[in-house]
C-alpha cells in the first residue's frame, strides 16, 4: 500500500470511516503517522467540548461559591472538593460502572422512555466526566480570580449606576477572566492531556475506535517497539499543545487589550494528572 492509500483508508479510522481492519503486520511509519493522527480527532473532540461546556459550569460554580446563599456555596464547595480531591482515572472508572448499572431498556420519565445505553459509550460518558472534572478545576481558578477583582473596579461600577447582571456582565466577569486566564490556559492544557486517559480507564474503544494514545499503544504492543509509535504521538501532542497555547494567548491579548504594556505571553506552568 502506498502512503496515499494508507491515508485514504485510515485518516478517519478513529471515527469509523474507511478501512475496518487495522493493519496487522508489516507496520510502516506511514500507517503509524496516519492512524495516530486519526486518533487525535478524539482528543480534540473531548478537549474542545469539555472546555466549552465546562467554562460555563465553572463560571456558575465560582459565582455560587462567592455568593451569599449558604446552600449554593456548600454545593459548590462539595462539588469542587469531590472532583479535585480524587484522581480523574478513578472518576472514569466510577462513572463507567455507575452508567453501566442503569437499566438497559431505558428509564421512564413522565411516560417517555429515555434510552441510557449511549451513556456508557466513551463519546458521551467520558465527555460528561471530563466536563465535570474541568468544571471543578476551572471553578477553583475562577473563584480565586473573582476574589482578587479589585474593590475599586466594583465601586466605580456602582458609581456609574451599574448593578446586578449588567455589573457582572460588564465589569466583574471580564476582570475575573483576565485575572484567571494564565491559570486557565494551564488547566486547558492539562485537560487536553488528560483526554488520553479515556480509553485506558474502563471505557471500551468500540470497534477499535480510539484516541491517539490508544493507537500508539496498539502499535507499540504489536511491534514490541515503543521507540517509534510513542514519539509520533508525542509529536502530535506537542504541536496541538503549541496551537492551544497560541489560541489562548490570542484570547489573553484581547482580554488585556485595554491595559498598556500588559497581556504579554501566558507562561505555561505544567502540572500533571488529576
Amino acid at each position: 500500500m502506498t502512503c496515499t492509500e494508507v491515508f485514504s483508508n485510515y485518516a478517519l479510522r478513529s471515527i469509523g470511516m474507511g478501512e475496518r481492519l487495522l493493519p496487522r503486520s508489516d507496520f510502516d511509519l506511514c500507517q503509524q503517522f496516519v492512524l495516530i493522527g486519526s486518533g487525535l480527532i478524539w482528543n480534540l473532540y473531548f478537549a474542545a467540548l469539555a472546555l466549552f461546556v465546562g467554562f460555563f459550569i465553572a463560571t456558575g460554580l465560582a459565582v455560587a461559591r462567592a455568593g451569599r446563599s449558604v446552600v449554593l456555596r456548600k454545593f459548590a464547595d462539595g462539588f469542587i472538593f469531590l472532583f479535585r480531591g480524587s484522581p480523574l482515572f478513578i472518576q472514569f472508572f466510577l462513572a463507567y460502572e455507575a452508567l453501566v448499572m442503569l437499566p438497559r431498556a431505558g428509564i421512564e420519565i413522565f411516560g417517555i422512555t429515555v434510552a441510557t445505553s449511549w451513556l456508557t459509550k466513551a463519546w458521551a460518558g467520558a465527555l460528561i466526566v471530563l466536563i465535570l472534572n474541568t468544571s471543578a478545576y476551572s471553578a477553583q481558578i475562577f473563584h480565586g480570580a473573582l476574589m482578587s477583582v479589585p474593590k475599586g473596579d466594583i465601586e466605580a461600577a456602582d458609581a456609574y449606576g451599574l448593578a446586578g447582571w449588567s455589573r457582572f456582565r460588564r465589569i466583574t466577569w471580564p476582570t475575573m477572566l483576565r485575572l484567571a486566564w494564565p491559570a486557565y490556559t494551564n488547566e486547558a492544557i492539562f485537560l487536553f492531556h488528560a483526554t488520553t486517559l479515556v480509553f485506558f480507564s474502563g471505557f471500551p474503544a468500540f470497534q477499535q475506535k480510539g484516541d491517539a494514545l490508544y493507537y500508539a499503544n496498539y502499535f507499540a504492543d504489536r511491534t514490541f517497539n515503543p521507540f517509534v509509535a510513542y514519539p509520533v504521538a508525542a509529536m502530535y501532542f506537542i504541536i496541538a499543545t503549541l496551537l492551544l497555547i497560541w489560541v489562548f494567548g490570542r484570547v489573553n491579548k484581547r482580554l488585556n487589550r485595554h491595559l498598556p504594556g500588559q497581556g504579554g505571553r501566558v507562561r505555561y506552568r505544567p502540572q500533571l494528572v488529576r
Binding site: P87, L94, T241
Partner: protein, 292 residues
C-alpha cells in the same frame, strides 16, 4: 481467616459480609493500599532528587548539561504524562535487556527481528527461572522509575522557578564576598529557595497522590486491579457469589483518595504556616501581625 468462615454458604447477612471482607483475596486488596503508600514513599524523595538534579543542570555553566536540563524540564510540557507512563517502563526494560544481551551473549544476533524483540535467555530481565516475587518487584521498580522520571521533570520545573525567585541581590552579595559558584549554590541559593518552592512542591505532592492509580496501567496489582477483580460479578461457583459490585469498590477507592488529599491539604497548610513564620514575605507578615 476466621474460624466461623469455614462454610460461607451457610452464612447470612452481616456475618456473611464479615467473612467476605476478611477473605484471603480481600487481604491482598487491603495490602495493595500499602503498595500505593509504598510507591508514594519511594517516589517522592526520588522525584525530588531527580528534580533537583534537573534544576541544577538547567542552570549549569556547561552547555551540554544545560541543554539536557532544559530538555528534561520541558519534555513534560507538551506531552501527556500518560504517554511517558506507557513509554518509560517498556523503554527501560528493553534498554536494560539490550545491554545485557550485548554483554552476556556476545550480542551478534540483532535484537529486533521483524516485530519481535529477541534477546538470549541469559539476558532476560528478570530471568525466566526467577520466582514470581522477583517479577513483581521488577515490575514495581519499573513503575517507580517511570513515576520518578516524570515527577522529577515536574519537580525540576518547580525548583528551577524557585531558584530564579531567590533575589538576585543575595547572589551578587555572595559574589562580592568572593564565594565560588559552588559555595553560592550550597550556602545561599539552596537554603533560600525552599520558601519559594513549597507551594509548587505541595501542589506536586497532591498531583502525585492522584497519579498513583496509574500503577494499574503499568501492570502492577494495585487497588484498581483488585477492585476490578473482586468487584466483578461472581457466579455460584465462587465461595462468595455476588452480583457486579465494582461500583462500590470504586466508591471505596474514591473515599480513600479524598481522605488522602484532604489530610495532605491540612498537613501542608500547617507546614506552610510554620515555614512562613519569620520570613520576609506577605504570609510571614500576616503571621506576625496575627500574633501581635
Amino acid at each position: 481467616m476466621l474460624a466461623q468462615c469455614a462454610d460461607p454458604a451457610s452464612l447470612q447477612g452481616l456475618s456473611w459480609l464479615m467473612c467476605y471482607l476478611t477473605s484471603g483475596k480481600h487481604m491482598m486488596f487491603y495490602a495493595s493500599f500499602g503498595t500505593v503508600l509504598l510507591l508514594l514513599a519511594i517516589t517522592a524523595p526520588l522525584a525530588l532528587a531527580f528534580g533537583f538534579g534537573g534544576a541544577l543542570a538547567s542552570r549549569s555553566r556547561i552547555a551540554p548539561l544545560r541543554w539536557f536540563g532544559w530538555l528534561y524540564t520541558s519534555m513534560v510540557r507538551g506531552v501527556p504524562d500518560i504517554l511517558f507512563f506507557l513509554f518509560v517502563p517498556i523503554a527501560v526494560d528493553q534498554g536494560l535487556e539490550w545491554l545485557r544481551h550485548k554483554a552476556l551473549c556476545g550480542g551478534d544476533a540483532p535484537v529486533r527481528q521483524g516485530n519481535d524483540f529477541v534477546v538470549c535467555a541469559a539476558a532476560k530481565l528478570p530471568l525466566s527461572t526467577s520466582p514470581q516475587w522477583v517479577h513483581e518487584v521488577y515490575g514495581f521498580t519499573l513503575a517507580v522509575m517511570a513515576f520518578a522520571i516524570v515527577f522529577g521533570a515536574f519537580a525540576a520545573n518547580v525548583l528551577a522557578g524557585a531558584m530564579r525567585a531567590v533575589p538576585r541581590a543575595q547572589l551578587e552579595t555572595a559574589e562580592a564576598y568572593g564565594l565560588t559558584q559552588r559555595q553560592i549554590s550550597r550556602r545561599i541559593l539552596i537554603p533560600q529557595m525552599w520558601t519559594y518552592a513549597i507551594p509548587g512542591l505541595s501542589n506536586l505532592w497532591m498531583i502525585l497522590i492522584k497519579a498513583t492509580p496509574l500503577l494499574f496501567l503499568l501492570g502492577v496489582e494495585d487497588i484498581v486491579y483488585w477492585a476490578r477483580e473482586l468487584g466483578g460479578a461472581k457466579t455460584s461457583a465462587f465461595t462468595y457469589p455476588h452480583p457486579d459490585w465494582r461500583l462500590y469498590y470504586f466508591i471505596g477507592i474514591l473515599i480513600f483518595y479524598l481522605l488522602m488529599t484532604w489530610g495532605s491539604e491540612r498537613i501542608i497548610g500547617r507546614l506552610t504556616r510554620r515555614l512562613s513564620a519569620g520570613q520576609a514575605t506577605l504570609a510571614g507578615e500576616a503571621l506576625r501581625k496575627g500574633a501581635a
